[in-house]
């Protein structure tokens, strides 16, 4: 199976196989054409293929007549925040997020700093497939300008969104694993700005990823050791482009990535009850927490643009996903690990509680994740068959807005096609392990 996925979440593939310079050039041409040759921001994470993809994207955008503001290596949320600041028409982030090193991807951002929504992404794909791109004449070609100030702007906005003085007063010791990714240029500086004693590891942008850039319990072993050895108050683990955040407690426990949003919700809703937006595959713990604080949970299909748009529509106080990505609207309505750090440290500082205590207040359910690679031409017919059987599974609730989500009082099961890879993802959650196993087994049986 070819590792290439062109879809509403952008274009993603393995460099040296499917992700070629021509593909990146033509997607950039389509994007520049879509945004009518306006000003476009670009940034990248630290993958060794980044300079190649960056050059291909810049060439494509310039050929369409776009002015290109090149932010160099920086987290995706940094670019997203900078969009209105630079009055840009659109942005392309060159990052495969949590995917391993050989991968790369283009993520498409619009002028307000949010990802293209499904309709917009489909329009972009139509232009790409038609291959009729705007071609700038020699005297219409705009410059490519390298600007490194976006990080400063991000720090400024973060500094305004949280009680910096309260955090500084506590002189927290914080360990951070930047995975040698884009957060290496931002996260240690943000923590220093917050007056923390910073124990940074893997903050070297010219080195390869020390582990997969996905903040799961498995990848946080080194961070746990640093937290313990350095007697840190908390440890943070980043992905490659600054969206997801993993947490290690002061006791050295690596929390599941599902806990990040749950902890953020516990903190946020206890102060300001309101709407939390998350997608169908995120833990039910969010509903349990929301119930405590007389708050509401809105569930969307999987995909960041759905969450961002629903946050704006419902004036949400928080958004996020079960993979560790949290959006805090005081900064912006899109996933931002640095904003998540701000929220957590502010609460630790003000409440005087340890992170392990805060985590203990969050309900923990058993969540099992599984995926089944499926040939691209079979993805949706396979799902359709499962859907037919699902009607007889006795669920109390069936949600078909993104694949199939079946809910029972004691658990739920979500079966859907991935937006980024040719596979079907299965997620089962229950209060008891045996029930979670049972749900997962039911799904796997159907997918065989």
């Amino acid at each position: 199976m070819k590792p290439l996925k062109i879809g509403i979440s952008g274009v993603r593939g393995i460099v040296g196989e499917t992700f070629t310079p021509e593909l990146a050039v033509e997607f950039a041409q389509a994007f520049g054409t879509y945004f009518e040759s306006g000003k476009i921001l670009i940034c990248r994470d630290t993958r060794p293929s980044g300079p190649m993809v960056r050059a291909a994207v810049a060439a494509g955008l310039l050929s369409v007549g776009c002015e290109v503001i090149d932010l160099g290596i920086c987290p995706t949320p940094t670019m997203q925040l900078a969009m209105p600041y630079f009055k840009a028409a659109g942005g392309i982030s060159i990052t495969a997020g949590h995917n391993p090193l050989p991968w790369n991807a283009l993520k498409f951002v619009r002028g307000d700093g949010l990802y293209l929504n499904t309709m917009q992404a489909e329009e972009l794909l139509d232009i790409f497939h038609q291959s009729e791109f705007t071609k700038a004449k020699w005297n219409e070609i705009q410059p490519r300008i390298e600007i490194r100030d976006a990080i400063e702007y991000h720090l400024e906005v973060l500094g305004r969104a949280f009680d910096v003085e309260a955090i500084r007063a506590r002189r927290l010791t914080v360990a951070v694993d930047c995975c040698n990714g884009a957060c290496s240029v931002l996260s240690p500086r943000w923590l220093e700005h917050l007056g923390c004693r910073v124990l940074a590891i893997n903050d070297e942008v010219n080195s390869p990823f020390p582990h997969n850039p996905e903040p799961t319990r498995e990848t946080m072993a080194q961070l746990r050791a640093v937290v313990k050895a350095g007697q840190a108050d908390i440890g943070f683990a980043h992905d490659a482009d600054g969206e997801r955040l993993g947490i290690v407690t002061e006791a050295g426990e690596a929390l599941s990535e599902e806990m990040t949003l749950a902890i953020a919700a516990e903190i946020k809703l206890s102060r300001t009850p309101g709407v939390v937006v998350t997608h169908l595959s995120t833990s039910r713990a969010i509903e349990t927490i929301a119930a405590r604080y007389n708050s509401t949970v809105i569930r969307t299909p999987v995909g960041q643009s759905y969450i961002s748009e629903a946050m704006l529509e419902h004036n949400a106080v928080l958004g996020g996903e079960g993979n560790g990505a949290v959006a805090i609207p005081e900064v912006h309505s899109t996933n931002d690990a640095e904003a998540t750090i701000g929220l957590l440290l502010e609460h630790i500082a003000k409440s005087g509680k340890r992170i392990s205590e805060i985590a203990a207040a969050v309900p923990r359910y058993i969540m099992l994740k599984h995926y089944v690679p499926v040939a691209p031409n079979l993805l949706f017919s396979v799902l359709n068959e499962v859907r037919r059987e699902a009607e007889t599974a006795g669920a109390t609730e069936i949600d078909l807005s993104d694949g199939i989500k079946l809910s029972w009082p004691d658990g739920w099961l979500h079966i859907r096609a991935s937006n980024t890879e040719s596979m079907i993802r299965v997620i089962a959650e229950a209060e008891k392990e045996v029930r979670a196993d049972e749900l997962l087994a039911w799904a796997i049986d159907r997918l065989k």
């Binding site: 040296g16 310079p21 060794p48 300079p51 993809v53 310039l62 050929s63 070609i141 490519r144």
Partner: protein, 458 residues
């Protein structure tokens, strides 16, 4: 009538019009083909300051990195600087991003081999085969190499020239040079070189912003501003460069252009005065070259048209200098390619050493009048035209290596006619040189009519 093509993929590289045929995808593919061809080594790239240069540069970088190359990026610099750095850094090759004398809407890739020479015919054909086959080396995302930005290339080029030729000898006063770089790739380096040589510099058109303040070719009709400047500033000499700074035109202290062919004549006189040896030029270059080498009793060899042909023959005969009549001076001790900066240094040394003005130096040699014409000609008719010329001038001395070159007359009434099909356009080129303008006019009119009639008849 077919539309005029805006893309030319040939053994001289790939040229096209921006916003029409020269797309970033095509450029990235060509760069991948080149990276594949040279085996994923180190590649030096540089560009002229055209507005499309940055787009082309990015596409080329993407293609080279993708095919596993390491890139040494000189950004805006003369083509000969790229060639020099390829040799200095022992790179596997180079790509010069420039459409040299073509108008502003054009751009092009020119491919350089590890010797710093443009790809020869055989190499260029191999590259084209790889490009067309479309199977390029692709390295894995984790193994991609990097781009090294080099900002010292201009200094390296200036140092290379000064270390071989030295500064100008100290005399009563500094030589005064008027310079017109056409806002091209020579805009930054040329004034710096002239100052490093200890000359005084007055400049026009030295802002490398991609604007074309005049026609890009350094031919007389494009150089009025410089001629004026030479007169007003009482300069000893005027130098004009083209966009990519490989060709050099010279204005005499009188404010008169001396003709592009005489750039090589002057440079040759200086070099042979120091190091007598073989000289190579192409078939269409002035007979004044024969007169110049005679002063030093040195042999002159003539090659087919095209820089690659000249340099190839220079290597064969071990030439001390060579070049083309379009203002391209090749001095292998510094750089094995046309280099306007080397040309300037050689001519200034000649002026300083002899203490004579340019007009006086040229008065030593017989003067010739050269006339050029071109006729649109379908490529399948070219051989018929050449056949007719061979028949009509039968019995005269002929060179058939590149079209037909006929030499006629002896002594005062002598001259030559060169008829050939262009390498780059569907046209026939006619060049005539003779001692007298009347005679040259007569020959070219006669041949022009004959060829015109033949083409009409078909």
């Amino acid at each position: 009538m077919k539309a005029i093509p805006t893309l030319k993929i040939s053994i001289s590289g790939v040229r096209g019009v921006i916003g029409e045929s020269l797309t970033p995808t095509l450029l990235a593919r060509f760069a991948q083909a080149f990276g594949t061809y040279i085996g994923s080594g180190t590649i030096v790239i540089g560009r002229d300051p055209r507005t499309s240069g940055e787009m082309v540069r990015q596409a080329v970088i993407a293609g080279l990195l993708s095919s596993g190359c390491r890139v040494i990026d000189l950004d805006v610099c003369p083509v000969p600087t790229v060639q020099l750095i390829v040799r200095q850094r022992k790179a596997s090759g180079g790509i010069a991003i420039t459409a040299s004398h073509n108008p502003a809407e054009w751009n092009a890739l020119k491919f350089v081999n590890s010797d710093g020479l443009f790809l020869g015919t055989g190499q260029a054909r191999e590259l084209l085969d790889i490009y067309h086959q479309g199977e390029y080396t692709k390295v894995a995302g984790g193994e991609m190499r990097s781009v090294e930005m080099v900002t010292t290339a201009l200094d390296a080029h200036i140092n290379a020239i000064i270390s071989v030729l030295g500064k100008l000898p100290v005399t009563g006063r500094k030589l005064r040079v008027a310079l017109d770089s056409c806002n091209g790739a020579g805009s930054i380096i040329a004034p710096r070189l002239l100052e490093a040589l200890c000359a005084e510099v007055i400049t026009v058109n030295t802002t490398p912003d991609g604007s074309f303040p005049r026609g890009a070719e350094p031919i007389a009709e494009n150089l009025q501003q410089l001629c004026q400047l030479v007169k007003e500033s009482k300069a000893d000499v005027g130098f004009a460069q083209d966009m990519d700074a490989d060709r050099l035109a010279v204005i005499a202290e009188t404010g008169q252009p001396i003709g592009e062919d005489n750039t090589l004549v002057l440079a040759t006189r200086y070099v042979l005065g120091k190091t007598p040896g073989a000289v190579v030029t192409n078939l269409s270059t002035t007979s004044a070259m024969e007169d110049a080498v005679k002063l030093f009793d040195c042999p002159l060899y003539r090659s087919k048209i095209g820089e690659a042909n000249v340099t190839e023959m220079m290597q064969q005969v071990g030439a001390v200098i060579g070049g083309e009549g379009n203002g391209g001076v090749i001095y292998p001790r510094i750089n094995f390619c046309r280099d306007s900066l080397v040309g300037m240094a050689l001519i200034l040394h000649l002026l300083a050493e002899t203490g004579r003005p340019i007009s006086d130096l040229l008065a030593d040699l017989p003067r010739y009048v050269m006339l050029k014409e071109k006729l649109a000609c379908p490529s399948d008719k070219i051989s018929e035209v050449l056949k007719m010329i061979r028949r009509d001038f039968a019995g005269q001395q002929m060179d058939l290596r590149d079209g037909v070159k006929v030499s006629f007359g002896v002594g005062q009434g002598s001259g030559w006619l060169h008829v050939r099909g262009s390498n780059t356009e569907p046209i026939i080129r006619l060049v005539v040189e003779a001692g007298e303008e009347v005679q040259a006019q007569q020959v070219i009119r006669e041949v022009f009519e004959k060829v015109g009639n033949l083409l009409q008849k078909n």
